[in-house]
């Protein structure tokens, strides 16, 4: 099979993949062989990562490192919401190994001047990776602090040259029934594939990260390998995993949770302690790891603590209405 590779004329010679990253590609391939072994049932239980994550080379986040205590790697990779693999927090780590992440293609289309496809190797070699230590706040009122590795989504979008009438960006997760047991549950009421969306200015914001790794290594499958979004000032469900399609649109795209229950999950989903989820309060969060006698309940901050950077995006908007 002949593979179309996206060649970007804007890549300077200085951007050419450093050897270390190239070698990491090899590791990645090796790692996915490991994934096949895991699929055959050879993986271990709790640390049963889908494929042994490979080292990435990136610029460290020295400022973010001082912010707050990191949530341990094992917790970040064993406590996940990834409903394609089941609704329990431990389902993804047990079942996500079934997902094939190599080869991986992302289709970029809609209102862009240069629609096309990206392969994972283009992404790993075509962008300067950097570490970002962000708070991650789930709508279910738990939170983590995670060192992600990625690059600004803006850089990716600019390569495809969005048209001026493109005001929103839509994302879709892989939907492969054979590999995703959660999507085969006949009592699930989610309309697959999982969809998310951002307004163009949100997508272009420098905090919005296209993420390929965590803790310096490629993403484990349960965390949304090989490529996911991280929007740190929004609830976790906006940070869509395992992306296969990105479309620039004129109209606000329909997102999965909003479609399912629009009274509980809005399009914006900005972290906001003042606007409760109808079934629970959003004023506090359990910062994981938490325990029974020390629940580690901390007050939730407006925009998850990124108010200074992003509040201006929503100037004049009633955030109670546009939740």
């Amino acid at each position: 099979m002949k593979r179309r590779t996206y060649i970007d004329p804007t890549i300077a010679s200085s951007d050419v993949t450093p050897e270390s990253v190239f070698l990491n590609r090899r590791d990645l391939i090796k790692a996915s062989t490991g994934g096949a072994a895991a699929a055959l049932g050879l993986s271990t239980a709790r640390s049963g990562l889908a494929s042994a994550p490979a080292e990435l080379s990136f610029k460290s986040d020295t400022e973010g490192a001082l912010l707050e205590e990191l949530t341990p790697y094992d917790d970040v990779t064993s406590y996940n919401n990834f409903y394609e693999f089941g609704t329990d927090k431990s389902d993804p780590v047990q079942h996500a190994h079934a997902m094939t992440t190599d080869p991986w293609t992302i289709k970029i289309g809609g209102l862009v001047n240069q629609p096309g496809e990206l392969h994972l190797e283009d992404i790993l070699s075509g962008f300067d990776l950097e570490e970002r230590i962000y708070r991650f706040r789930c709508v279910e009122a738990w939170s983590m602090v995670v060192p992600w590795v990625g690059f600004p989504l803006a850089e990716l979008l600019q390569r495809f040259d969005p048209k001026p009438e493109g005001r929103f960006v839509e994302f879709k997760t892989l939907y492969r029934r054979a590999e995703m047991r959660g999507t085969r549950s006949f009592t699930s009421i989610i309309d697959w594939p999982y969809r998310e969306g951002l307004r163009m200015d949100e997508a272009m914001h420098p905090l919005t990260l296209m993420t390929v790794g965590l803790y310096g290594k490629t993403l484990p499958n349960q965390n949304g390998a090989p490529l996911r979004l991280i929007v740190p000032w929004k609830y976790g469900f906006k940070s869509i995993k395992s992306i296969v399609e990105i479309n620039v649109t004129a109209k606000q795209p329909k997102t999965s949770w909003q479609t399912l229950q629009s009274s509980e999950y809005g399009f914006y989903a900005n972290v906001n302690p003042e606007v409760d989820h109808p079934r629970w309060s959003q004023r506090f969060e359990r910062r994981l790891p938490s325990s029974i006698f020390n629940p580690n309940r901390v007050p939730t901050l407006p925009f998850n603590g990124y108010e200074e950077q992003v509040a201006s995006l929503y100037a004049g908007m009633d955030l109670r209405k546009f939740y």
């Binding site: 949530t71 341990p72 917790d75 064993s78 406590y79 409903y83 609704t87 927090k89 431990s90 738990w142 983590m144 549950s185 006949f186 009592t187 699930s188 009421i189 989610i190 399912l260 409760d276 109808p278 079934r279 629970w280 309060s281 506090f284 359990r286 994981l288 790891p289 938490s290 325990s291 029974i292 629940p295 309940r297």
Partner: protein, 188 residues
């Protein structure tokens, strides 16, 4: 001695949950797991309690004989569930609790189920039973509204997969319908 064995069996799930908690097998958010664990075992206990009578009528009196132990254990699991909620979710703040009860119907519904079971637990001694006489049986019919409330509590919590809630619904409906039918047959 036999009763003691029944108590032991009923407390097994609690023991398992405690061991999992003690050995760190509950992951980074044990609160959530324990809430789920105590809630699920309470539901299973409720099923067993409601199964006792129909099984006894079909010649298997084992559960019926131990229904007091079963009922009290069920109450222990529900109470633990409630205590955890107070400790982990509202941090013993009365204002927060009042707000939760007011604004979140599933909390109120779950709490009502516990309230409905409280007098049953308190009147489970032989003395209370003798003292209440006929009214004891009437009082203990509170388990039926408690069942409906417990199921509503579960159903209200569903986020995207209704499978489990439906399964409990079918089981509870069957167990309650059996009683309705018996009442009808007796009235004839």
């Amino acid at each position: 001695m036999v009763t003691l064995g029944a108590v032991g069996v009923c407390l097994m799930p609690l023991l398992v949950l405690s061991i999992q908690l003690g050995t760190g097998q509950m992951g980074p958010d044990p609160a959530k797991r324990l809430m789920q664990g105590t809630g699920e075992w309470a539901l299973r206990g409720l099923i067993l309690v409601l199964l006792a009578a129909p099984l006894a009528k079909r010649g298997w009196p084992m559960l019926f004989r131990f229904r007091r132990v079963l009922g009290l254990s069920l109450f222990v699991y529900v109470s633990l569930h409630l205590l955890l909620f107070a400790q982990v979710y509202v941090g013993w703040s009365l204002t927060l609790l009042a707000e939760e009860l007011k604004e979140r119907p599933y909390v109120l519904v779950g709490f009502s189920a516990w309230l409905a079971m409280l007098p049953l637990a308190l009147t489970s001694t032989d003395r209370a039973r003798r003292w209440l006489g006929r009214r004891w049986r009437q009082l203990h019919r509170l388990i039926y509204p408690a069942t409906v409330l417990a199921w509503l509590h579960v159903f209200w919590l569903v986020r995207s997969d209704v499978g489990e809630a439906l399964l409990y619904g079918v089981i509870f409906a069957a167990l309650l319908l059996w009683r309705v039918r018996r009442l009808q047959l007796r009235a004839r």
